[in-house]
Symmetry: C2
Subunit: 516 residues, 2 copies
């Protein structure tokens, strides 16, 4: 056996049995080793952004790492944008990057590059394997780093560390330390602040705190002390829908974000950093809380946040389950006529199946969908945590592999979808149960809105050509078919409702292009 | 006026009037400024790899820099793979990356990343603009660095440096120093070595030395002293075809590469580093020259290489023009029957129009095409200098914008083409005269070959699923149509010949999928 066999064996010994891959020549010994490990499921992405985004989606749903397999510096570079989202979402990933044999590097062959330098900005941990014998320990350390940060652990595997022989050995799985429990002092201090700011406080939940148990405890605290439960702008994952605590992500538009926190005197961070403006704007603040607002941290993303919220609720005597909201859903009659961003969102929310995983990549339309779907059946909502475009189609791949019995829905505008459309092919290849809804507005609509924010009302030729996707308009039905995914197009609410209803009944990948 | 206006004005004052762009919110003031500069042509790429690849193609053909416009760290990351090729090809590029306003960075908003860290591995020069007043000087320095290295100059533009006001001022273009002339001592020493190794020497030409004038002088020297003229493996650009010096790129497969240099006792590098194995293989050498071969450098890529070769030819008395090869081209009758990689290459070579710019992204088929087309009408041959996949479709965009009166032909296999297929949309948007020939072998064929090199003859499920592109096979006719480019498919030599002939007669983008 060789270093590559050892790598696979250590992954498998730790339950890492998915490898999202886009290999190259320097990884051929790794590929050959994978071929000897039928327990490892290898999923090919035709572009590296698909590979890393899929690993992110898988991690968000399982809370466990998958492995990736990328080819040298340029292959890693293609995967960095979605690693950025993964790192910001605190998704555990073992990101394996093949490199030239160590003795080859000094010759600066054409594909040589500074892989450590490229990896560092989007990784929480980076290590180069020094020899075949060091592979086992390095993979175990990468697993430990990925799980305990949690985050992106990048392991650089020189070809000779993969191909050189190693001795067979018994492998024991890594024992991860339990998540730290927060000291009662912190709990009591936060509880005291909440008592003082009854009616004027907010909890911002992220990480595990935004899942079902965490949000339930947060909801009980908020209900008992008249507070509010927020999520981060563009949250990694929220468990939501009928019967669950309504959680409001802080809005992306700066004015709405400030407005949403205007009457908050105490903001408690649970697994998230303090929310700040997504972008800077001339004359507008970066911090979103009002002057004088107290900001406290209950715990960070490595802590046991659900337990911390439970302890906080106990301390506050806020243990009464929140009353289910008595609503008939969907309330209104379905929208009719010409499709718009709003009507697509409303129809999608009305038909959302129980247990759906919604991968959202629309900052404007996604927010509207979020409003419409508050009382939809229970579901998970994933969004583009780091703001790096090309997120949703790949993340849906990983979510569908993580949760084969749940319907995954990608909600994406045409401009964003085009960055990593290659992910559709992997959905077809693996026959994943993913429905992609493309909002074809044929523009970088958010940029046009931002340009208007600058006071630019007359958009000239250069700006138009950088923000409009017409001339020619991409045709998503053709694109999907070209990648092996069946697709249909809708221009009216009625047509979209019908196509959506039948798409939700079938299994396997499908795409609907909504012409708005 | 503001910093962004100044940026555009300095670019335009230096003749940089093309901006390949994929902007985001932090670049809106730059976009608004571009809108006030009709002399700047803005070309949108729907993915950043298209933007940087196009800038590379433009630079290879004009030898001048275009500007790019990318959005923060993730946008840069998506463009890095093709910047790697550009840097390895010594293409001048002014690579502009927008970032958050400087005062916003400390808050670590979700899109924040270490842009300098990401840029450094694929740039020859990196600078962050410190203020609006510093924009003018920084852009001038970037221009100087891009042209004189030549290479990739990355300029990081914080949003506040773009939006803050600057005073109007008169702008003078940057005066570039002339390229250094090589000392006669070097020329004489190389000449002496050639005299000593008559019949057993090779010149390896790259950069300007591989263009028409450089190869002519190299050819005269080789003819007079019975030497050979090589190019780098995967050369950036070679001027070749009927009437020009035949230049042989050193083969990519390691055994052929070593074989090609077996009888060379003296290798003279003209604008290229010493050729080494593209990848390392167990038990095979990294250096390709035989033990004891003398390796001399005539000049580096920043030198005036055409003049150096002329001076060398003068010194050697090798001034006699090389006799045109007397061939009838094409020699054989056109191939018939089922298409193969070889027959596609042969047919394409036979029909190659004069002045064509061939963007090649096939290491195996590209080499065969190269052999078939040696006596084709004069043309330029561009290849994937850094080995970073997803090169050819974007590079064709830039080459076509640089040379609107020449036919650009992309020759790419389906696996490689899928990395950056979005470039087809830009070809449609700009109505570029680009013909894309996709060799649909439905596999990462080179990887299968590499796996067989390891002695793996039985390929199992995991390896197959990582190297085969069937199940489903991408359909390039649909993909091209989805991006606004007309397309057709061919399965036989006869069909391909006919479609190719009519595609070469029309102007504007077209794609032919060759099913082999």
């Amino acid at each position: 056996m060789n270093g590559a066999d050892r790598l696979c064996d250590v992954l498998l010994a730790n339950g890492v049995d998915i490898c999202f891959a886009n290999p190259g020549t320097s990884e051929m010994h790794f590929v050959a080793a994978l071929d000897r490990k039928p327990a490892m499921r290898c999923v090919l992405g035709l572009f590296e952004g698909v590979v890393t985004g899929a690993a992110d989606g898988y991690a968000r749903m399982t809370r466990r790492p998958a492995a990736t397999l990328l080819h040298t510096g340029p292959g890693l570079a293609n995967g960095l944008a979605n690693l950025h989202n993964a790192r910001r979402a605190r998704s555990p990933i073992i990101n394996i990057v093949g490199d030239h044999a160590s003795y080859h590097l000094q010759h600066d062959a054409p594909l040589t590059s500074d892989i450590e330098g490229l990896a560092a900005p989007m990784s929480d941990w980076v290590r180069r394997v020094e020899s075949a014998d060091a592979v086992g320990g390095a993979v175990a350390d990468a697993y430990r780093a990925a799980c305990s940060t949690p985050g992106v652990a990048t392991l650089i595997l020189p070809a000779d560390s993969a191909w050189n022989p190693v001795e067979a050995t018994l492998l024991a799985p890594v024992v991860l330390p339990p998540k730290p429990t927060l000291p009662m002092e912190t709990i009591r201090s936060v509880a005291g602040a909440i008592r003082e700011h009854r009616g004027r406080f907010g909890l911002v939940v992220g990480g595990d705190a935004a899942l079902e148990i965490g949000t339930e405890w947060a909801g009980r605290i908020a209900a008992a002390y008249y507070g509010r439960v927020f999520a981060d702008m563009l949250p990694a994952r929220i468990a939501r829908g009928r019967g669950r605590t309504p959680v409001k992500p802080i809005p992306y538009p700066i004015d709405l974000a400030i407005e949403s926190l205007r009457d908050i005197d105490l903001l408690i961070l649970v697994g998230v950093p303090e929310p700040v403006a997504f972008f800077a704007y001339p004359g507008k603040p970066t911090r979103l809380v009002r002057e004088g607002c107290i900001v406290l941290t209950l715990g960070g993303c490595g802590d046991d946040l659900a337990a911390a919220l439970e302890a906080l609720a106990d301390e506050l005597g806020a243990t009464k389950p929140t009353a289910p909201v008595d609503t008939t859903f969907p309330a209104a009659s379905p929208p009719r006529g010409q499709l718009t961003g709003d009507t697509v969102s409303a129809i999608l929310a009305r038909q959302l199946p129980e247990g759906a995983i919604l991968c959202n990549e629309g900052s404007i339309t996604g927010r509207r969908f979020y409003e419409f779907s508050e009382q939809a059946p229970p579901h998970d909502f994933l969004s583009i945590r780091g703001g790096s475009i090309g997120f949703s189609i790949p993340v849906a791949v990983g979510a569908a592999i993580a949760c084969p019995d749940r319907k995954v829905i990608t909600y994406v505008s045409d401009g964003s979808g085009l960055y990593t459309l290659q992910g559709l092919w992997t959905q077809a290849r693996e026959n994943l149960d993913v429905l992609t809804v493309v909002l074809a507005n044929r523009a970088y609509a958010i940029l046009l809105a931002e340009l208007r924010n600058l006071g630019v009302n007359e958009v000239g030729r250069n700006a138009t050509r950088m923000m409009s996707l017409t001339d020619p308009a991409p045709d998503w039905v053709h694109l999907a078919q070209g990648l092996g995914v069946e697709a249909a197009s809708a221009e009216s609410c009625e047509a979209f409702s019908d196509i959506l209803a039948s798409a939700l009944k079938r299994r396997g990948p499908f795409l609907i292009e909504c012409l708005i």
